[in-house]
């Protein structure tokens, strides 16, 4: 590049009065590398430095706003999978089909009788097993574990209840 060309390139970034043009200030403010003389001028000229600082701080603020705007706009257009509702009409239709399909059997009464017989037989077997186990070490272990389980459940429920009562009391006092 000849000296004339270099001078032309520098002058393209200058105002008529020899100070940096608006475009040069914006480019320097954004950290763009321009012709060497332009940066040097900004480091010497108080007037251009003041305008450069203004341009840089403006770029900083607007850039933050634009990035936040872009993030929020992208978020608003993102598919909301979590909020998607289940297809209620499909569930209702499936339930209706199940009920309609079971109606003949339920209406005849034989299904109810079969279910009642099965339940009775299962209860009878369970009772016999328990009676048979009574007095054995297995029964003692099972009873002990059950008591421990019941104790834990009661303790948890009681703690939550007490905590809820205290919080309600505190809120009442504050009110």
């Amino acid at each position: 590049m000849s000296d004339d060309e270099a001078l032309e390139r520098v002058e393209a970034w200058l105002d008529r009065d020899g100070h940096l043009s608006e475009a040069a200030l914006v480019a320097l403010a954004d950290g763009v590398e321009l012709e060497p003389g332009l940066g040097a001028h900004a480091e010497r000229c108080e007037q251009c430095a003041a305008r450069l600082a203004e341009a840089a701080l403006g770029s900083l603020e607007l850039g933050a706003a634009l990035r936040e705007h872009a993030e929020r706009t992208a978020g608003a257009h993102a598919p909301k999978l979590a909020a998607a509702r289940p297809p209620r009409w499909a569930l209702a239709l499936a339930s209706l089909l199940v009920v309609l399909g079971s109606l003949p059997e339920l209406a005849s009464g034989s299904a109810w009788i079969a279910a009642a017989r099965l339940s009775a037989a299962m209860a009878k077997r369970a009772l016999r097993s328990l009676v048979g186990l009574a007095g054995t070490p297995e029964a003692a272990l099972a009873t002990g574990l059950s008591l421990v389980g019941i104790g834990v459940v009661v303790a948890l429920v009681a703690t939550r209840w007490a905590k809820g009562t205290m919080e309600r009391g505190a809120k009442h006092e504050l009110a």
Partner: protein, 198 residues
């Protein structure tokens, strides 16, 4: 204190950014004029003041060390300007503390009343109204200027990349960005004014 000349050497212990790995030292050097300007403006002193040199050196040190933490799409220039502003405010805080210490009989409370440079939570949480206002303002810009502005601030593209992408000279990119910023600022101020209760 950090030597400004360090900025000419590539950081040895930091992974280079893929897009600008070879341009980093030159990019740092290009930041010097704007960092000096912001430091002088924030400190309220002349460009040749020693404190300005200190702020620029410290800012460049932080930029070199923290450049890997730059968020995706965030341009280097404004990020470095933000650091310079914070370093300058720290410098002001030190100045005030020393001034108080020198005053006889006034030990002060030990608290320094420098305004927190970080944006307030209200400012950070951009309201839906502000988003709409920015939407409207962006829509009013011409296609080229808007594309250049978004490419720089949101996509983190360099002026050179934007120039190649949009097929215009770099001077035009700079002019578009300058005018867009001015127009957006004016439109947002106008909308703020319109919303303000009379």
């Amino acid at each position: 204190m950090f030597d400004v000349a360090m900025a000419d050497a590539p950081p040895a212990d930091l992974p280079p950014r893929p897009s600008a790995a070879r341009e980093l030292p030159r990019a740092y050097a290009a930041l010097r004029p704007v960092l000096r300007a912001v430091a002088a403006r924030t400190l309220g002193c002349a460009l040749g003041h020693a404190d300005v040199d200190d702020v620029v050196a410290e800012t460049l040190r932080r930029v070199v060390e923290g450049e890997a933490r730059l968020r995706e799409g965030e341009p280097l220039g404004p990020w470095a300007v933000g650091i310079a502003k914070h370093v300058s405010l720290d410098q002001l805080r030190v100045r005030r503390r020393e001034a108080r210490r020198r005053q006889p009989g006034d030990e002060g409370s030990g608290l320094v009343d420098v305004v927190d440079p970080r944006p307030s939570p209200e400012r950070l949480a951009m309201s839906a109204e502000r988003v709409r206002a920015l939407d409207l303002a962006l829509a009013k810009l011409d296609e080229g200027p808007r594309a250049a502005l978004v490419a720089f601030h949101v996509e983190g593209q360099s002026y050179q990349d934007i120039s190649a992408r949009l097929g215009v000279p770099m001077g035009t990119v700079a002019t578009w960005i300058a005018r867009s910023r001015k127009a957006l600022g004016a439109m947002l101020a106008e909308q703020d004014e319109a919303r303000r209760p009379s």
